[in-house]
Symmetry: C2
Subunit: 233 residues, 2 copies
DNA sequence: GCTTGTGAAATCTTTCACAGCA
DNA sequence: TGCTGTGAAAGATTTCACAAGC
């Protein structure tokens, strides 16, 4: 999404391409983190889990779970199920979440501050190593575990801190130039929350999460309940 | 999706089904808001736009734009292109964004406050009519254009204010019960930001935006650049 | 000339259904 | 017996390519 938009498509669409041994379909990749979360929840109940139970927790079809997991290798046991801990390890490994990825947040407004202190990043092995803002009034303020740096220092700091992922929470007007600086600074993924789309080179993974867009999509699906719009116009 | 998508599918999967005259594919619906935004940007440059230019701005293929728009009807002119203003009107109409949808945000923490003041909602015809929190210390505080109400009053207030869309920014532990109250309160869409999945009845449109999950997906795509993981284990 | 709208082809994704193994 | 892993079928989406219309 994606959103987030995601997408989704997802949702939210992004630049795609990947090679890890035998290529894993994009739709599968989008579900792996969902499985990971479902497994984390299930891990306290039982050491193993069936495709059917995992499917229920993840909100998908059991055949889909089996097909998805088969792309990672044969980690299940027929007649028994999947070993929860081992499966989580395998999924994490494929998602590259083993390796402590380093995140920078650009824009220390409400949304930027919220994300910097959001527990979901740290608990999944992502480390927020820097926050930036162009407003001198915000520079120096403590946000989460970092203190806000001036936007003008981005190019240097990104390289110095070896930032992997950039999160854009600037106003729409600054989003594209921010994305450009992030790319020049060597990040390989960008998560864009600004209410405008940005474009980046092919080799940078991009995910655009526009909250207004998410609501618009929802409001369309809502109409499955409502009376159909008159056909003519 | 961001997503979704959520989304992808995407980005963020959700409960789907819709009937408006002749059914519009889900993948198309997920792109309509993106077109809408691209059109808004383009509207100042020229009164008409070609599928090719629109495709470039939206980051998709020109044939896709034409196929998508053809689901709405024949609103283009051969040899010329699409009339920007009219096309925006048609897309908005189909997305139901004409009709001032009413949003409630549950959880007035950092993220909830950020969303309540986020410009992206209001500028797209969504009106934040209520915020809720279970913390008595937060109740009564002004957030955006509303003041925070006690979570215990949700059931009544949702009905009274005729809320259409619920946004969940509670901690993971409260997300499912919050979603249940929202459904009972008559909302027809839920946008879930809590770092856990929730389940809702078929007839409620659902979009799950987990920021950690988004980063995990991105970090996988990132590996298209990195060296392949060793095959064995 | 240029650009839409759309069948048909190609591709991707999901689901089925069952062989194979514990 | 129970559940995985996987070919094959069904379905959805994307892309191609070109006729039709301005």
């Amino acid at each position: 999404m994606s959103p987030c938009g995601y997408a989704p498509k997802r949702p939210g669409a992004g630049t795609i391409s990947s090679v890890i041994g035998h290529r894993i379909p994009e739709a599968t990749v989008n579900r792996l983190p969902v499985y990971l979360r479902a497994l984390a929840e299930a891990s306290s109940s039982s050491p193993t889990i069936s495709s059917e139970l995992l499917a229920e927790k993840a909100g998908v079809n059991a055949a889909q779970v089996r097909k998805d997991l088969s792309h990672l290798g044969s980690y299940g046991t027929r007649g028994v199920g999947y070993e929860v801990g081992y499966l989580m390890h395998q999924i994490s490994r494929r998602l590259g979440v083993d390796s402590e990825l380093r995140v920078a947040i650009v824009g220390a407004g409400n949304l930027g501050q919220a994300l910097a202190t959001y527990g979901g990043f740290a608990s999944r092995g992502f480390q927020v190593v820097a926050t930036f803002d162009s407003d001198p009034g915000k520079v120096g303020h403590r946000v989460g575990t970092t203190s806000v740096r001036p936007a003008s220092t981005m190019s240097d700091v990104l390289l110095e801190l070896k930032v992997d992922i950039g999160v854009v929470t600037t106003p729409a007007s600054a989003a594209q130039s921010t994305a450009d600086v992030l790319v020049a600074g060597g990040v390989s993924c960008i998560l864009n929350f600004a209410p405008t789309t940005v474009v980046v080179p092919e080799y940078v993974a991009l995910r655009q999460v526009d909250l207004g867009v998410e609501l618009q999509i929802l409001s369309f699906y809502r109409q499955s309940e409502a009376a159909p719009v008159a056909a003519g116009e």
